[in-house]
Symmetry: C2
Subunit: 272 residues, 2 copies
């Protein structure tokens, strides 16, 4: 998917919402377990119920690998089910030496036809570049993550430069890709840092995880993160997909998605 | 597998050899393509031919994911085929927020029964800890990798401390695990750095990739890397498994493995 297509999708839905498909066989409504492929059946209903409000879907690979080859099949069916005008993210956090990254790229871009994949930066340029060689496909590079351990290494100052490691990642990687094939993961718990981050990557799209059903600091994320092309995909996983474990779980998920996207629309109107 | 069991395996085979199962459907001998599961058939014959000399096998996950759910089945059959006294490494370079890393741990340790998994450190403590909660299972954390891009971030000095990022990773992570459940990936192209690295992690096992069929700087790796408990697993992938694409590819692979392990034995005798 091109950047223009993504922007048009955001414009038409007036939403920045990415729905995280962290589908856990142990957490889905029990009545689905009698289905042939409960994981896919759950995803299908979630997608149907949220499609009006979601501009992106992000299956987290761990949840599918946990079911082995069956999980891989559920993933494949899920990605095929998502309409092509919606942006898809393989949340895989891959990254390896060049020939290995090339294989991952083929697996996720060619075989599964994802629009993008999350990639870890630790191994540097040749672990990222192979993912950038596919037209219309995107790397979403880990910048500043939202978990506690993000302060172990990401916020260390590097080479006495005043720059933190994640800032160096944002700068250095701009030589590898551009705003049409690269985004960054920026954790929502650091909304106050988004103002500084926008100085380094003013034009790139940012994928912001960690915004829960309650909205959290959604307003701060929008205020400091939005740019003229929107520039934000804001993810919610558990808050949406596990909104209810009853028979109407999909309807409830749709309701949460609708509320989140309505809130996003307000901030878009206010801050762009 | 416990550390003692691993050491005993090394002692009995007088070898440090890890065989990397980077099995590419496009590179295996064409006569295998008529088999029902060519990838597994290839691996089976490679394992049979190298078992005498190998103390570990390391399937690289990208090569299996490239074939989707079928690849996952080949991986499962491969890991089941490897005798339990040999150490197994899922070269997956995973790492995500806590609940996601827990799922990856279940996938690779419980379901596939690997002894260890390679993990990327960028996301810090809570991305690594869930892998350390399994008895007899190991994290092999990326330290200094052997690819060109390793200098992009891994060798930056952090917090004006004189320490490089990968050295900080080695130090910091020693609070998370210990010598019985943690190893480090240290690229063989940096053999001269092994002396310094051994000062930081004197007792840990190191997984050293990047030693090719030619032996490369195998001697330097052994000289600076061996410790009283051996402390090294040295990987060769393509140099062994693609030694020939003829009908006797397995025999040729066995020959290369035998030569490498004989060379290792010499260095063990010399440097321990």
């Amino acid at each position: 998917m091109t950047r223009t297509e993504l922007i048009n999708q955001i414009k038409s839905k007036e939403s920045l919402l990415c729905v995280g498909l962290d589908t856990d066989i142990n957490r889905i409504p029990s009545f689905l377990l009698k289905e042939k492929d409960p994981i896919f059946e759950f995803n299908k209903r979630i997608i149907d119920a949220t499609l009006e409000h979601a501009v992106a879907y992000k299956p987290n690979l761990a949840f599918y690998e946990a079911s082995g080859s069956k999980g891989w099949e559920s993933l494949q069916k899920t990605i095929e089910y998502i309409p092509t005008e919606v942006f898809t993210i393989a949340d895989a956090k891959r990254g390896d030496i060049g020939n290995t990254s090339s294989l991952y790229a083929r697996a996720f871009f060619d075989q599964l036809n994802f629009d993008s994949i999350t990639v870890a930066p630790y191994m540097g340029i040749d672990s990222v570049k192979p993912f950038l060689e596919f037209d219309g496909k995107w790397v979403i590079l880990l910048g500043l993550t939202s978990n506690g351990g993000s302060s172990d290494f990401q916020t260390l100052e590097v080479n006495n430069s005043g720059e933190l490691l994640f800032e160096r990642v944002l700068k250095r990687s701009q030589d590898w890709g551009h705003t049409e094939n690269m985004m960054y993961v920026i954790g929502a718990t650091k909304a106050e840092q988004l103002e500084e981050i926008r100085k380094i990557v003013p034009d790139h799209f940012l994928l912001v995880p960690g915004v829960g059903a309650q909205g959290g600091d959604l307003e701060a994320v929008c205020k400091f993160g939005l740019n003229q092309d929107f520039g934000l995909l804001i993810n919610s996983s558990r808050g949406i997909i596990y909104a209810s474990d009853d028979h109407d779980f999909d309807k409830q998920a749709g309701k949460v998605a609708s509320n989140l996207s309505a809130e996003m629309k307000r901030y878009i109107d206010e801050y762009i």
